[in-house]
Symmetry: C2
Subunit: 502 residues, 2 copies
């Protein structure tokens, strides 16, 4: 018998060395952005019980999955599967149910919040097409849980905006800017209120949301057909369909009511005071990455508040996510605020290719071998009690996480930088606290527990006090006494930390 | 309905941040050892067609696997599965069939040899126990193919010994030494000859090998029962069973017939001239890591020559592999010499725990964030045509791959090392050629094609000539003119390369 060549399953990939390096370039960028934004890596099984997926979405979901079973059971087991209409296991199509199961299992002992990331293979039984394979990698970042007295809208908005910050840092590290990619934000609660005002009954809200989610994919006629098929009888809703993406407004700065801070597409009734996330995003300097867009609702039923999508060039969705405050409870855990997002390697790889941003040859080899982010937190940034300094915490944190290039030489203590031309302050793993306390002793204990190297307190006038957590000694600037939050200043605190770490 | 906690599938793991870091410590060490030994990373699908496994091992294998199917097919598809007694897909239990399929698909275009590694999840439908889970990670390294005029026993032995070198470097980088771990070597062809001499028919050889493979797990009585059940009628074989591990001999150095170079356990008829691998191993300075052991045959049917197992503390198998020269052909490729091995993360993790070698806390964080090996080859080492220098190629290559710590300061050109106390020459990604040519121009073209930074020619008297491949300029030593292969010499070529790379 002549040996025949066996093919890989349709919709899967054989990655030869150059292909693998391209994928590694993406997964390294995912890990780096996650770690420097303070996320910790976790992992779950590649397959789960089918129950894990049907408990949340009903048995219908199983038709979209690869199901699996142990071959040990023999023909009896196969007949049982045929009788039941489903197997015991399924290859995971997404990470969120696993994460919810893992958090619920140890909710009491886990830190609040858990900032977790993971990257691994996922599987969907769908027809392969550009950007959609049956096996692909996905990156997930999630912020889960809050200190019990801290489940405020402002804290939740901070969680949401940390997710978006990490996504923006990922794009930036790959050479994509805020013109290439935008995070379109919306709030499901807002949309539900709007739908209620259009006369849609509570029992039909989920169906209406599913129809809104299809707006960018289907013509208006098909959307109206779906609406009537779902038994929704609302002329307001029908005339709203396909129009939610048309109106454009400029949201003005809350303080001076003049400076434009963000574009809004969609329903004008979504006012800035309804979306605390805008404040959090503005504090982090992310406004140019974001756009309110009333057409975003996301297809997954478990979202409860903020929803967002990263859209490249105004058309292709690169990542999506949102808030799922009820999901941990559904899996047997306590009520737990949670927010996260996911991004696949196939769509991101296509985007980098199309923009000419995927390195090749020696450049690719060198990019993949670049030093990775420190697992140990480098900086732990806190305000010194004065509320006016708090926005600076987020600005400095974003700058430390991002890293800067500087023309300054660090020649103090007779040292020269090892790079003679420019001094680079690399991206630093930087953490903040979610606690409401302004007690510096408690915050410092937190920094210590997380093994941070440097404790960074922000005082008035952009001044920063720096403590080496290993020696517990304060560090002072030879030239200026204290340090600055300003990356353009010679005594920028990022310089000082980079110098200390040499 | 009160929400109930859903459990993960039995034999799988939920990895929380500290667990994940421990696993990352292992996978980083795998990648690093692979890359610096010149292996390139590849990856295949997590699931394959069941045909890929049954073509090699028969349908019986499917009872040991997790099988999978698309849920899209509905109940008709399930009935088809029940009727056929198997599903279309299976979660991969090992990597070798995927590798053979991938090599066969592009055999003509691929370099000869391909030195490939991969690390990912694998699945077995067996009862979970210590060291054996249903989902685990596995590291595979393989050398596949040789230049057409180079499929000699010596070249094959070089392939085999590169696999073992990479394994030994992995152990060394984790703090394990040659007393903790030994590679037990054997040759299946030798064993088959022995079995033939014991009167066992060719049709019974495979069954006899399977029985030999169980020697360490079953008592002699059970082995003899198995022998008779298999219809093997050989008193010689029966008296040999359980004894193959008893005799100990010391193999003497071929040149002086006095220096012991390796211990042998087992049948004395395995003489040194029958195992060219011994010469290759000795050239690479690996003799202390190896032991010939006649009881090793490995359970998988596809091995054709060398077989080996890494055994810790004389009892637990940490890794296993061997030569499979017929497998690529079986998957539709050309006749192709190939050799590889695999190692699981569970067994290795247990070993590191038991030896106190798994770091914890801040040490673990720092170990995981250490700089990783350069994907771009740093050194490409060749002999300068004189056969007497060839063993030095392997010694220098092993030292460059391993890295050294040195007391010397590099103060040439007014530079000081950035580490003021000791100068570390880190592990370097180092490659060699498998070609028989001694034409330096051709070898240099090879180095260039592989993007090597430095071309290292070994001359007589341990002298080394060094060329920067980016500038094509020779590099000379200010103090000594030329460089040395000796890591203890001030003009060690490793120092010079490390200095050039600053």
């Amino acid at each position: 018998m002549a040996a025949k060549k066996i093919k890989p399953p349709k919709g899967t990939r054989d990655l030869y060395p150059e292909d693998l390096l391209r994928q590694r370039y993406i997964t390294n960028a995912w890990r780096d952005a996650s770690i420097r934004c303070g996320f910790e890596e976790i992992a779950g099984p590649t397959f789960e019980t089918t129950e894990l997926y049907s408990v949340k979405s009903g048995e219908g979901i199983l038709g979209e999955l690869f199901q699996a079973f142990s071959g040990k059971g023999g023909s009896e087991a196969l007949e049982e599967i045929a009788a039941k209409g489903k197997a015991k296991y399924a290859l995971r199509p997404e990470f969120t149910p696993t994460l919810a199961r893992m958090y619920a299992a140890h909710a009491k002992q886990l830190p609040k919040p858990c900032k977790w990331f993971t990257a691994g293979p996922y599987f969907r039984a769908e027809r392969p097409q550009r950007g959609r394979l049956r096996e692909f990698l996905q990156w997930n970042i999630d912020v889960v849980g809050l200190p019990s007295d801290e489940a405020t809208p402002a804290s939740k908005a901070q969680m949401d905006s940390e997710i978006i910050e990490c996504g923006a840092q990922l794009f930036e590290s790959l050479g994509l800017n805020s013109k290439d990619c935008k995070f379109l934000l919306n709030d499901r609660e807002q949309v539900v209120q709007l739908l209620n005002s259009q006369g849609i009954a509570d029992s039909q809200i989920e169906a209406a949301l599913q129809i809104l989610d299809k707006q960018s994919k289907l013509p208006i006629k098909a959307l109206i057909d779906l609406t009537r098929a779902a038994g929704i009888d609302s002329p307001d809703f029908e005339s709203y369909l396909g129009r939610s993406n048309q109106d454009k407004i400029v949201l003005l700065n809350a303080e001076d009511d003049e400076t434009p801070i963000m574009r809004i597409k969609g329903n004008a009734s979504i006012a800035k005071e309804h979306l605390p996330i805008l404040t959090a995003i503005s504090k982090r300097g992310l406004s140019n990455w974001c756009e309110l867009n009333n057409s975003i609702v996301r297809g997954l039923a478990y979202y409860t508040g903020s929803v967002f999508e990263a859209i490249a060039d105004g058309e292709r969705a690169v990542a999506g996510g949102g808030r799922y405050d009820n999901l941990i409870e559904l899996f047997g855990g306590p009520p737990t605020p949670a927010c996260g997002f996911g991004m696949g390697d196939v769509v991101l790889g296509n985007l980098l290719d199309d923009k000419g941003l995927m390195p090749t040859g020696v450049e690719l080899m060198e990019a993949v071998a670049k030093p990775q982010a420190s697992i140990r937190p480098v900086a732990f940034v806190v305000p010194n009690g004065d509320e006016a300094n708090e926005p600076l915490v987020h600005t400095l944190t974003a700058n430390l996480r991002r890293g800067i290039e500087s023309e300054f030489w660090l020649s103090r203590e007779g040292r020269k930088p090892w790079n003679n031309d420019r001094y680079t302050v690399g991206p630093m793993h930087t953490r903040i606290s979610y606690k409401s306390t302004r007690n510096l002793g408690k915050l410092r204990a937190d920094a210590e527990k997380q093994h941070a190297r440097f404790f960074v307190e922000i005082h008035a006038d952009n001044k920063v006090e720096l403590t080496n957590m290993d020696t517990r000694e304060p560090i002072t600037s030879d030239t200026h006494g204290s340090f600055s939050v300003d990356p353009a200043a010679e005594n920028y605190v990022g310089h000082a930390i980079a110098q200390q770490m040499q």
